[in-house]
């Protein structure tokens, strides 16, 4: 069964450094998403992406965040200058046109020191 994959599974970085989290969505999916889950809190929507542009973003998704689909398979989330409060589990998800169902990857745990 096809699944969403994410790399790395765990990323440790110093405050102020740039990180790129990578996702490979399910191959025929056209909608892509990033969510995050701070430890002990609910999963929060960050951004949705369709047709090579952002469809919707939350107030969390400020200028420090960006997303890109650099090729036909990868979908990335970049944090330009990480802060301690960016420490969280980041989930990528993908979905098909016309379906509300999203399929989630296993997540990348980001730890900012």
């Amino acid at each position: 069964e096809p699944e969403v994959t994410q790399t790395p599974s765990h990323q440790v970085t110093q405050m102020g450094q740039e990180v790129i989290l990578r996702c490979v969505p399910i191959s025929n999916h056209l909608y892509f998403y990033w969510y995050r889950q701070i430890l002990g809190q609910k999963v929060e929507f960050l951004v949705s992406f369709y047709n090579n542009e952002i469809s919707e973003k939350s107030e969390i998704f400020d200028d420090q965040f960006s997303v890109e689909r650099p090729d036909g398979s990868n979908f990335t989330l970049k944090i330009r200058s990480t802060k301690l409060e960016d420490s969280a589990m980041y989930f990528c998800a993908s979905g098909t046109l016309g379906s509300a169902t999203q399929y989630f990857g296993p997540g990348t745990r980001l730890t900012v020191l």
Binding site: F45, E56, A100, F104
Partner: protein, 112 residues
Amino acid sequence: AQSVTQPDIHITVSEGASLELRCNYSYGATPYLFWYVQSPGQGLQLLLKYFSGDTLVQGIKGFEAEFKRSQSSFNLRKPSVHWSDAAEYFCAVVGGYQKVTFGIGTKLQVIP
């Protein structure tokens, strides 16, 4: 704006006992509703979903959920819990641009 409330943060049940996890939603139109499960250190696995039609939906691992529009609820049930069901369960609603709004989650502990 859409929202989801899961009133029970932690629930403990004995193995073999029945389970019901509560979920209430707020959404202006007909909702798309989901239950996801997250085992420790794992990602979010889709258990079941409701879009329309029969208000009782069946999912994987023996779970089912019932949509009640009058109560704005989508409670998850299982007749007999197994130790492997210990996990965190998230109710979710999908709204504009397919943005998923999650509840806070309910942690299920199963005791022998």
